[in-house]
C-alpha cells in the first residue's frame, strides 16, 4: 500500500520546493513520539535519500519516508487544507485508531512497541 498526495497538497509542496531553488530537495514525512495522542507527524525538506528510505511518487511529488515511519504511514493521504484556524498539511492515516483535535498526532489502531531500545 502506498501513499497519495492530493492535488491541493501537490500544488503547495511544488510551490514550497520552487521557493527553495534546490532541485535536489524532496519532502520528507516522518513520525516521532509526541503530541496529545502519542505519535506526531513531521515534515521537512531533505536532499539526501537515505539507504532505508522508501521513496513514494504521487502527482509528480517525491516523498521520502524512513523505515521506522513507513509502517505507520502506509496508505495515508496527504492533503493541504485551509480553514478558519489557518492552513496546514493534513494526513488521513488509515493506521490511526484515534487522532487528537488538531490532527497533528495520532494513536495507531494496533499499538505495538514503537521502540526497540534496550532496557536495564
Amino acid at each position: 500500500m502506498g501513499m497519495e498526495v492530493t492535488e491541493a497538497a501537490a500544488e503547495k509542496i511544488q510551490g514550497l520546493l520552487e521557493k527553495e531553488t534546490n532541485e535536489a530537495l524532496h519532502l520528507r514525512i516522518f513520525v516521532s513520539g509526541g503530541g496529545c495522542s502519542g505519535f506526531q507527524y513531521g515534515f521537512t525538506f531533505d536532499e539526501e535519500v537515505k539507504q532505508d528510505d522508501t521513496v513514494v511518487e504521487s502527482r509528480g511529488i517525491k516523498l521520502l519516508v524512513d523505515a521506522m515511519s513507513i509502517d505507520l504511514l502506509k496508505g495515508s493521504e496527504i492533503d493541504y487544507q485551509s480553514s478558519l484556524q489557518g492552513e496546514s498539511f493534513v494526513i488521513r492515516n488509515p493506521n490511526a485508531g484515534s487522532t487528537c483535535g488538531c490532527g497533528q498526532s495520532f494513536t495507531p489502531a494496533e499499538s505495538g512497541s514503537g521502540c526497540a531500545n534496550a532496557g536495564y
Binding site: 516521532s32 513520539g33 509526541g34 496529545c36 502519542g38 499499538s111 514503537g114 521502540c115 532496557g119 536495564y120
Partner: protein
C-alpha cells in the same frame, strides 16, 4: 473483614524515634538517553522543567483518552539517568507504555530489579540519613538528595518521611530495627489520607477526579503530552466532579469499598484504617458538590461519615 490498624508500638516510634519499612509496592525504573527529558515531557502530566537536582516531581502517564496508565515519582539519578518510581503492579505496563511512543528517540527505559525503596518515617527519621552520608534534608515534599548510589526523596512532611532508593544490600544495612509490617504502612497511608492508584482508584477514573492537582501531579502550561486534551478540558471547562476526601467514621465499615449515602448512593469509601486509639478514618471518593455542602453522610449500616479535608500532598 479486617481493616488495617496502626499498632501502639508503631505509633510511639513515629512520635519519638523513627520507623522503617520496605516499600515493595513500589518499583524502580531507570531512564536515560540524550533526549530523555524531551521525550518524557511529551508523555507525562507534570512539567519536566520542574525536575532539578534537589527536587523530584510527581506525575502520571495517561492514555490518549486521558485515563491513567500509571503513577510516577521522578528524580534525578547519577550520570544523566533519571529514576522513576512506579507502583510495582504497574511496572511492566509502565515500561511498555513508555517505550511505545519512543519512535525517533534514543532511550533506555527499564526496571532495575537490584534496587529497592526503603521508607524511614518519624520525628527522628532525618538522623538515619547520616548513615549513608546523605546531607540534612529539607522537609518539603519531593525534596531530593543523594550520596553515591543512594538517593533520598522526602515523601511526607508530617510526619517526616523519606524514601531511600538504592541497591538492596546497601539499604539492608539499616533495615534491622524499628521495622514495620505491611499492615502498619497501609494504616499510615490511609490515616494520612493518601489515595493509592490500584487500590482507591484505577484506570476507569480520570486522574483529574482523583486529586491530580492536590498532589501536584499536573502542569497546565507545559504543552502537549499524551492525554492532555481531555485533562486540560476537564480543568478549564469545569469537568472535575469528584475528589478524594479524608473522612472520620463513626464505626468500622463492614466491607470495602462500600457505598456512601445521603438519601441515595453518592460516593464510595475506598479505604479505612484505625489509629492507635481505635478511631476509624478512611478515604472517600465523593462528588465535590455534596462534599462542599453540609449534607450528612453515612454508610449503608448507618455509620456516620464526616469529611475532615480534601486529600492532598
Amino acid at each position: 473483614m479486617k481493616i488495617p490498624s496502626i499498632s501502639t508500638v508503631a505509633s510511639k516510634l513515629l512520635q519519638s524515634e523513627h520507623t522503617i519499612v520496605w516499600r515493595q509496592d513500589w518499583s524502580i525504573l531507570k531512564a536515560s538517553g540524550s533526549d530523555i527529558r524531551k521525550y518524557l515531557q511529551g508523555q507525562i502530566t507534570q512539567d519536566m522543567g520542574k525536575l532539578t537536582a534537589g527536587k523530584g516531581i510527581h506525575s502520571f502517564i495517561l492514555t490518549p483518552q486521558g485515563k491513567t496508565v500509571s503513577e510516577l515519582y521522578i528524580l534525578e539519578g547519577n550520570s544523566d539517568e533519571l529514576i522513576l518510581l512506579t507502583p510495582s503492579d504497574y511496572a511492566v505496563s509502565t515500561v511498555a507504555r513508555l517505550r511505545q511512543f519512543a519512535l525517533g528517540y534514543q532511550l533506555r527505559i527499564g526496571v532495575v530489579d537490584t534496587y529497592s525503596v526503603l521508607e524511614i518515617q518519624g520525628v527522628q527519621a532525618a538522623k538515619k540519613l547520616q548513615h549513608f552520608d546523605l546531607p540534612a534534608m529539607e522537609s518539603a515534599w519531593l525534596t531530593t538528595c543523594h550520596a553515591g548510589d543512594i538517593h533520598a526523596l522526602t515523601i511526607s512532611e508530617k510526619p517526616h518521611a523519606f524514601w531511600l532508593i538504592g541497591n538492596t544490600p546497601e539499604l539492608e544495612t539499616i533495615a534491622c530495627s524499628n521495622m514495620l509490617d505491611k499492615d502498619d504502612i497501609e494504616a499510615m497511608r490511609i490515616l494520612q489520607g493518601i489515595p493509592r492508584f490500584g487500590t482507591d482508584w484505577d484506570e476507569k477514573i480520570y486522574p483529574m477526579n482523583a486529586n491530580l492537582i492536590e498532589f501536584d501531579g499536573v502542569s497546565f502550561d507545559k504543552g502537549c503530552y499524551v492525554g492532555q486534551e481531555v485533562t486540560s478540558r476537564m480543568h478549564w471547562r469545569g469537568g472535575i466532579k469528584k475528589r478524594f476526601y479524608r473522612v472520620k467514621l463513626g464505626g468500622v465499615p463492614e466491607t470495602l469499598p462500600c457505598p456512601i449515602l445521603t438519601t441515595a448512593k453518592i460516593g464510595m469509601l475506598t479505604s479505612a484504617a484505625t489509629d492507635a486509639e481505635g478511631v476509624c478514618f478512611g478515604i472517600a471518593h465523593l462528588p465535590i458538590e455534596v462534599a462542599e455542602s453540609d449534607t450528612p453522610l453515612s454508610l449503608e449500616n448507618s455509620t456516620e461519615v464526616n469529611i475532615i479535608e480534601t486529600c492532598h500532598a
